[in-house]
Structure formats: structure tokens, C-alpha cells
Symmetry: C2
Subunit: 228 residues, 2 copies
Amino acid sequence: MPEIRQIRVLENILKANDYMAQRLRADWSAAGTFVVNLLSSPGSGKTTLLEATLPRLMKDYRVGVLEGDLETERDAQRIRALGIPVLQITTGGTCHLESHMIEQAWDSLKAEGPFDFLFIENVGNLVCPSSYDLGEHLRVVLLSVPEGDDKPAKYPKAFRTSQALLITKSDLIDYFDFSVDDAVSDARDLRPDIAEFRVSAKTGAGLEDWLDYLLQRRAASESVSGTR
Amino acid sequence: MPEIRQIRVLENILKANDYMAQRLRADWSAAGTFVVNLLSSPGSGKTTLLEATLPRLMKDYRVGVLEGDLETERDAQRIRALGIPVLQITTGGTCHLESHMIEQAWDSLKAEGPFDFLFIENVGNLVCPSSYDLGEHLRVVLLSVPEGDDKPAKYPKAFRTSQALLITKSDLIDYFDFSVDDAVSDARDLRPDIAEFRVSAKTGAGLEDWLDYLLQRRAASESVSGTR
């Protein structure tokens, strides 16, 4: 049966992926680089969130970005326009980033460091990326209001494996039949301690809380690892 | 190298998938059932499109639906509420539908037929489903306005393998910085003959053209196969 063979190989790939991810995380922790992995459907606003977040963060912190896409360098170009070191990973057909891709890209990007924050924008896909640890310290899933409040229940792993849920395009909340309570309640059924933010890159709403959270998480991670 | 092994197994799975898909398509053609496979990101409005399309189609045609999701029966419940025979396929973790899943589900659903149209709503994912022929006669990719006009360039295979592109939630076009021309031009670079429709399930705009297209495609398919 083809399915059974697929699962067996996948387990090996996942083990190899996790091994390399742990090594990356240890290296980043030692260097004081706090790494955030952004997950979502295509078009939920990952790049737009970075465009709104990074200029505020850059005032006090050194920031780098790794962009993941099947094709095109469009997202990297948008980040580079902000004057931020960035590298685009184009996966060809692969539907997610894996830690060996990150290691390769990081090898190139780190010459432009050191970095206090590294953001990884995963391939737009609410399914596959959730199975791949990239060595990040913080995984954040974005859910945009136009997508609908039923996504946590329908795509559980992305929400179960994320420490924070960002409800994006929150300026559209009155236009859509989207219940924040339902979305958050379904996400909390999967992960009771998930942090939740409602943000609009368009109006700026919620961005201060999101930034505070990033700084708190970075500070907590430093005090645990004891570096710097 | 894990990647190479993954590709080899994937090729075998794809061959098995295509073999079964061809058999399904032949059976459906012989029975006069025209099959449509709907692909898109999560939350692009596949179920909402079906809710707007099927009541119009049901006046003159017998319609069935297969719903694909990782988890939950929510979409099938929405379709069943219209009085349409429907079966939910929950894939567990699998990020796409495969033809063996369709064959199993069809074995159950066909007792409620015969059907003139069968709609398959794939798992919400703009990457993986595009690699799996399900035996459909027509593949349709949905791109919702809030997702952004850059998606054809960034997720090319979904657009290259689809005969029709539906730009959904078109009532939001003034609210977003979305260029229909850019999206369609990028899609036509990938597939010059792709048909294009702009629809809004909310306002009803564009639905008549989309229905006419479905009927034309079904009629063309019948005259080729010579059945019925």
C-alpha cells in the first residue's frame, strides 16, 4: 500500500528535520537570536504583518528575515525595501520549509548579523508547515478575518503547535460573519495556553500588544538560556 | 538524502493515484456524471460558492458533493442543509484528497444517485492538491480578493493545472489593493486558455456566467464521450 510507505519515509524525514532543528535552536539561543516562525494560509497577511512590525522593532533591535515561498522573490523584495537583511528560500514544489533549508539560508544570512530577532515566514499553507520544527523559539499562526472562524477546528495542528494566534485584518470584523470568540475558543480547545492578539496592519490596531509580547518572549527566552 | 527518497515514493504514489483517477473518470463519463474538483486556500469560499451554485443547479440537474477536510463535518452539514446528497471525507493529517479516498467515498455516495454533477471540495490548500488528479472533468481554482493578486505567481501549479479561475469575494474589490488584471495576467502566463470569472456569493454577481460555463463544459464533455 503506497500510503503506508509514505508514512514510514515521512517519519524518517521528520526525525532528521527535528534533529537539525534542535541544533539550530541551540545555536540561536547561544547567540541571543530569538527566532519566530510565522504560519498561515496564503494571503493571511504574514508579509504585511512583518512590514508593520519590523520598522517598530528595528529602532532598538537588529532584525533579519528568511522568506519561504514556492516561487518568486516578491516577499523578500518587500522586506528588503525596509532596509532589513532578508533571504528568499524558494522551495520549488515543496509545500513547507524544512530545517535543512533554514540551515542553508541561515549560513548565508548570518554574515549580515548578528541579529536579536530572526523572523521566518513559512510557505502559505495551513497544513504541512505545522509538522516541521525549524528550530524557532516561538511559533505564531495567523488567521485572517476573511478566512472564517472555523479554521482552528478544521486545521487543528497549526493551532495546536503554535504558542500565539494572531487574528489579522481585524479592521474587517464588521464586514464578515466572523466570531472571534468561536475562533479563540476552538483554538483553546486545542491549546489552552495559546496567546491571542487581534491586529490590523492597515489601522495599526493591536500592534503594540503584539510587539510587547515579542519582547517579553525574547526576554523570557534569554533568562532561561542564560546567554548574553 | 531523505529528500531523494521522498521524491521516489511520491512518484509511485502519484502513478497509483493517476491510474485510479483515470478509471474513475471513465466510469463517471460512462454514467453521464460531470465531475468538478474545487481547489483553493483555506477560507477562499469553496463551500460558500457551492451554497450559492447548487440550489440554482438543482432545479434542472441531480447534484452530489464530496467534501474534503482534515477534520470536522462542518462543510458537509452546510451542504446537507440544502437537501443535497453529500459525504464528508476527513483525511486526518493528509493535506489533500487522493483518488483512492474519492473511490471509497463515491462507493457510498453513488447509491443516492444517479448524478448529473458531482462536486469535490478539496482540502483548503493551494499547494498539495494540485498534484493529485481525482478523475475530475474540470478543475477550478478559487482565489479570493482578500488573499491578494500575487497568488498565481507564488503558487503556480494550482493555476497551471486548472481550467478555470474563479475570483471570489469580488464584492470586496474596492476595499483591497487587488488588481484583477495582474492576477489574471499571471495566471494566463501559466495557462493561456484558463477561463476566468469574478463572482460574489454575497451579492450574486457573476454567478450566472459561472453556471453557464458549468453547463457548457458538461455538454461538451457529453458530446465527446458520446454517452447518454
